[in-house]
Subunit: 119 residues, 2 copies
């Protein structure tokens, strides 16, 4: 029952698209991740995902629109919905999603992270 | 799939200890709430609770310690653990918890909110 300082967690790593687990509750993980560049189009068959922006501007691309998410804002991507996170500059994010969630969803490639570090 | 601006949601109400639902995912609710004063000692039999501080200083009292949680920090209170949120001045919070979670947990009193507004 210690508190978690989000900025302190984010200061512990500098690689992109490699989420760390910073909290766990009710079968869900809280993850911290830094983004830069384009991710891959994917969806999650069974998991909704919440992206809370801490720093920078996240462009969440959907097949029919783009939503820009700023610090102090979040977006929930429902299961089954194709999306592609894009970070033109560095973006810091907090994710809330089921522990079962794979970062690349239905796609498996060099960016897939099956084992996440807890920090 | 619209984004949610946390400050904008918090600007829509001014009462205390009356959470509003601002997001839903995987059977969990995201709630925005303003606190001022002491809440009641309670626990949740089946739900872990996450408190993310947006503004102000939250004092989370446990039976054996007090944790001060500041903006940009969160604390997870595991199921079964007695706690009492205290806000000496106004505090703005984002909560993440199962949709089944009752604000006063095992206690029912004048502060219990069984039906929450979605905003």
């Amino acid at each position: 029952m210690d508190k978690v300082n989000i900025a302190e967690k984010l200061s512990q790593f500098n690689d992109y698209y490699n989420p760390r687990i910073v909290g766990e509750l009710n079968g869900q993980y809280v993850k911290a991740v830094k983004l830069k560049g384009e991710f891959v189009w994917h969806h999650h068959d069974n998991e909704d995902e919440l992206f809370l922006v801490i720093k920078g501007k996240l462009k969440m691309e959907f097949r029919d629109k783009i939503v820009e998410v700023m610090p102090g804002e979040f977006i929930i991507v429902p299961k089954g919905v194709e999306h592609k996170p894009v970070a033109e500059d560095e973006v810091h994010i907090l994710l809330f999603e089921p522990a079962s969630t794979l970062n690349t969803g239905n796609v498996e490639n060099e960016r897939t992270r099956k084992v996440l570090e807890k920090i």
